[in-house]
Amino acid sequence: MAQPQPPTGMAAVLAVSRATSAGGLRGRRLWGVLFVAWLPLLLQVMVMAFRDGSPLSGFNSFVTHGCRITVQTVTPVILAFLGTGAFSDEWSLGTSHYVTGLPLSRTTLVLGRWLRVLRSALLIVLPPLVLSFFLNLVQFFSADTLREYLPALLYVLLGTSLLAAGMGALFVLFGLLVRRPLMAALVYVFMFEMAGGMLPPSFMALSLNSHVRNILWQLTGHDGFLGPAQEIWKTDPSSIAASLTWLVGAVLFGLGLAVLRLRAKESGDSSAAAGEDTES
């Protein structure tokens, strides 16, 4: 009799990322997230319609309306929903043992779920971003325009992916760390990502989108990417390496603590289960 052998390594991580889970993106949740992701593009189309099809300002418009809104607001909000639900829904719906009872290491589980969050977020966020790019440049379209601006689009896509990676890891951790993870994540997004300009410059390091914008600004040279630290507080921008370090650090910090927290949470879960299994 042959029992199947549990997957190992990357195969295991991919299996977890593709497996069903509580709180999957279906129904109203999916439509809500798609609406948030496509809203900036819809607004741009409406603006174009009201301007009787007259041209927007090309790449500048893409950066201001498409990219900055996506990087600063849409991506963090979507990740707040996806990331926090990666594990917390399992406990709230009583399905955690389907995950923690698997013959897979805790590191594999966390990596797999994070990868799932990242993939979902990028599938939702990047298409409207790409469409926004072409929509804004359509009236200036030529081989020269493409040659000039296509690398910038690639940088933007890469930057958004980095942001999703860092923020996804943090919000996966939130989902294992706090009782109301979605609320906590939205507060974090509002404080550090959306209203970041109001915080003193020393807090800016905690804003992942400001790091992404700093990288994009330095790579593209477009002032539209300037972060609030530079715009408002006139501080010197960090180097690309420093910003990358922050983003990678967020991934490692988030995922590392999430693994530890998952182990600890299992014990807590046992305590809760044992509440009905003990007599005082």
Binding site: M1, P4, P6, T8, G9, G101, R106, S270, A274, T278
Partner: protein
């Protein structure tokens, strides 16, 4: 802390649906297992060994069954002692966990998924090769009787269908050890019969099956091998007959089915010290005695020699409920 990782397997043999063929016996051993929750002790120095076949885990709510089960499936760690499967610790040991199937108490399922999606996903996570996954899922669906509902979302399932799906995911990888926490709760008689059938089949095939329940007749329908628990301790373990024999000092109750119970009562009371108590019933006499063998011989004599009417004889205490009451009291 490093976590053990299963080694990749070359030339993996073809995976089949849960077998009813005999298999290598698996022994799950608990040694001195203790588990505290704050200042409350849930398990107190438990020593147990589970082997092939079905074993019932009996105890009232709060006896420590669920805590023990969570330790046995590796979902929690013991504060003291060890839980080992064939000499290997269960907790955090991937190859060992791969040999265990678990049906949890509670109703949790992925509500948005169909049974087919859920089972396919679990098969993937358990390492069933993609080429065999669909066929295996079909076999499991048929085995747990979810054929008509396989493409419905679990959110619309009845309690019984949910239990079937939970059982399906637990036997999907053909586990050597199957642990079921209150698997019959909420099932109608038909579904109950089906689940009991599957459990008995696995037990007969040599899997180590542990079934917890606080309903005694549910366990009786599956096995006569039981572990009684109370306040986090093992009160008794073994077959019902074996445990009953251990309680030889306890008086036993025997019901004589007769149209003339008063006559039987008169005759039995003439034997000094044999009867500890009597209860007249309609067409029956309940006798309480500390000497069941002597009672049996006397009843035989009275029927054969004196032609007293007797239509039947029932050993009232040979059921789990009576045993449990004795142990608890």
């Amino acid at each position: 802390m490093s976590e053990p990782v299963a080694t990749a397997r070359a030339n993996a043999p073809v995976h089949r649906a849960p077998s009813t063929e005999l298999r290598t016996p698996a022994r799950l051993v608990l040694q001195g297992v203790t588990r505290w929750f704050g200042d409350v002790i849930a398990l107190n120095n438990v020593d147990l060994e589970f082997g092939p076949g079905v074993t019932g885990l009996l105890g009232s709510n709060g006896a420590g069954k669920t805590t023990m089960i969570r330790l046995m499936v590796g979902l929690a760690a013991a504060d003291a002692g060890s839980v080992q499967l064939d000499g290997v610790p269960v907790r955090n040991h991937v190859p060992t966990l791969a040999r265990i199937g678990y049906v949890a108490d509670g109703d949790g399922l992925y509500e948005e998924n169909t049974a087919r999606e859920f089972l396919a996903s679990q098969a993937r996570l358990r390492g069933v090769p993609s080429a065999q996954r669909a066929a295996l899922v079909e076999e499991i669906i048929a085995r747990v009787g979810l054929g008509d509902a396989a493409d419905q979302r679990a959110g619309g399932y009845s309690k019984g269908m949910r239990q079937r799906l939970k059982l399906g995911q637990a036997i999907l990888h053909d586990p050597d050890v199957l642990i079921l926490d209150e698997p019959l709760t909420g099932l109608d008689p038909l579904m109950r019969r089906d689940v009991i059938r599957v459990v008995r089949e696995l037990g007969d095939a040599g899997a180590t099956v542990i079934v917890s329940s606080h309903v005694l007749h549910e366990i009786e329908a599956m096995t006569d091998r039981v572990v009684f628990m109370r306040h986090g301790q093992v009160l008794a373990e073994g077959t019902v007959g074996h445990i009953r024999d251990l309680l030889h000092t306890e008086p036993r109750r025997v019901r004589l089915l007769t149209p003339d119970p008063a006559d039987w009562a008169r005759r039995l009371l003439t034997v000094n010290g044999l009867v500890k108590g009597l209860q007249l019933e309609d067409d029956a006499l309940l006798v309480i005695t500390e000497r069941p063998e002597q009672l049996s011989a006397l009843v035989q004599d009275l029927v054969l020699d004196e032609q007293l009417a007797l239509t039947g004889l029932q050993a009232v205490d040979e059921d789990l409920g009576s045993l449990f009451q004795y142990l608890v009291n």
